[in-house]
């Protein structure tokens, strides 16, 4: 089970990012647990400057935009 965190202040793009990850994970039949993290303090701890950002199993893999499909597939 991959632990996926989407970091962001709750803006539209972060919601879309989380949904996209869930959809693609389901397509690839990869079990994931996607949570949205909106706390400024926690976002700071990952050293992220632009959101939405994605953390998988505690490793920061993406930040600053809605990731494209290919990139998400490469994570699974």
């Amino acid at each position: 089970m991959k632990q996926v965190k989407v970091l962001g202040s709750g803006c539209n793009k972060c919601v879309k990012t989380a949904e996209l990850i869930k959809t693609i994970a389901a397509e690839n039949e990869v079990p994931v647990n996607v949570v949205k993290e909106t706390s400024a303090e926690i976002i700071m701890q990952y050293g992220v400057l632009s959101t939405p950002a994605v953390v998988i199993n505690e490793v920061l893999v993406h930040s600053g935009s809605i990731p494209d499909k290919k990139k998400i597939q490469s994570w699974f």
Binding site: S9, C11, A40, G47, L49, S50, T51, S65
Partner: protein
């Protein structure tokens, strides 16, 4: 080249719709068509080309650059980067914390954040094409002055004391590490450690191909366009209504002399009105041609763009109410003073 859009508006309004150039409706519709077509054309072309150029500039680089700068150059560069770095207001919290936890003084970070909504390439472009280069230059100088002086002031009053405790702690531990590493002449900080993680996943700037730049520019174009198109319609719509229906004599007669009270009134009116720079510039064009003095117009526009409650409330996550109130008052005061000065010298 831009005369094409006047011709297009002439043709649609007077030939196709058969409206009279001297009627109020004809005047307003002509203004609306000319400005929307021109603005959309410029937006698409310019956002794309500017994005091609700045594809390799990102917020992480700005942070690393500012963290190395000395204080006084810092305010100026903070403000310049605020003007040229693309970033969405929903990122202002992570940016604030990222800068702060890299040991960048609060004033420099605020120089960046205050200038950012006021000046960007889209605003400059619209100003150039709608109100000419003199007012554009004035707008840019005023916007940067607000950012720079605002930042200096916040550091003078030691604004970091008024951050939320966790943000203050991050700032203090960063500045502590900085002085330690300075004595040990080592440069590795926490910030560069996260940087390494990021750079392994992001495209390296120096090896960016044209293809990467094109992809970036295309994404930027769609992203910015989807955010600003509605503001263009709202802004130009209001500008057109002003243009066609508010008589020249009324504005000029009542506010044309730059009465002192009209400036603070314009600033106060701008607070509940919330728009970004793209939406407010067509209104600015209309107000100026109607004879509203430049200082009053500038005060109104800057207040509309920079002093908005929703964005300020966001900053509450990292600041105390006291600091928020200080920054808000500082903005209102500086827009008023700027308005007065411009009205006097103009």
């Amino acid at each position: 080249m831009l005369a094409f859009f006047t011709e297009l508006a002439n043709w649609i309004t007077f030939t196709l719709l058969g409206l009279s150039p001297s009627s109020k409706l004809g005047d307003a519709i002509h203004f609306f068509i000319e400005d929307t077509t021109k603005i959309f054309f410029l937006l698409v072309v310019m956002i794309y080309f500017i994005a091609l150029l700045r594809a390799s500039l990102n917020i992480e680089k700005v942070r690393d650059y500012l963290a190395r700068k000395n204080r006084f150059i810092g305010y100026v560069t903070g403000s310049v980067f605020g003007a040229i770095t693309p970033f969405c207001s929903c990122s202002s919290i992570p940016v604030f914390l990222g800068f702060t936890s890299a040991g960048i003084p609060v004033g420099i970070t605020m120089s960046f954040l205050l200038t950012s909504p006021l000046i960007n390439e889209v605003a400059i472009l619209l100003l150039l094409s709608l109100v000419g280069w003199e007012i554009t230059l004035l707008y840019v100088l005023v916007g940067m002055a607000v950012g720079i002086l605002g930042g200096v002031f916040l550091d003078l009053i030691r604004a970091e004391r008024m951050l939320q405790p966790f943000a203050l702690k991050a700032y203090q531990s960063a500045t502590a590490t900085m002085s330690v590493t300075a004595t040990m002449s080592a440069t590795t900080t926490e910030a560069s450690a996260t940087e390494t993680i990021m750079s392994s996943t992001e495209t390296n700037a120096s090896t960016m191909s044209f293809r990467d730049r094109h992809d970036f520019a295309k994404r930027e174009l769609m992203d910015i366009f989807s955010r600003v198109w509605k503001w263009v319609f709202i802004g130009v719509g209001l500008g057109a209504a002003l243009h066609g229906y508010v008589p020249m004599s009324w504005l000029e007669g009542n506010l044309g002399d730059g009465q002192w009270w009209s400036v603070p009134l314009a600033v106060l009116l701008g607070i509940p009105l919330y728009s970004n720079a793209t939406g407010v510039i067509p209104i600015m064009e209309s107000l100026i041609t109607k004879g509203l003095p430049i200082g009053t117009t500038m005060a109104f526009c800057m207040s509309t763009v920079a002093a908005s409650f929703p964005e300020f409330i966001l900053l509450k996550q990292v600041m105390t109410w006291k600091l928020l109130a200080i920054i808000f008052a500082l903005l209102l005061l500086s827009f008023t003073v700027i308005g007065w000065i411009l009205n006097i010298i103009h």
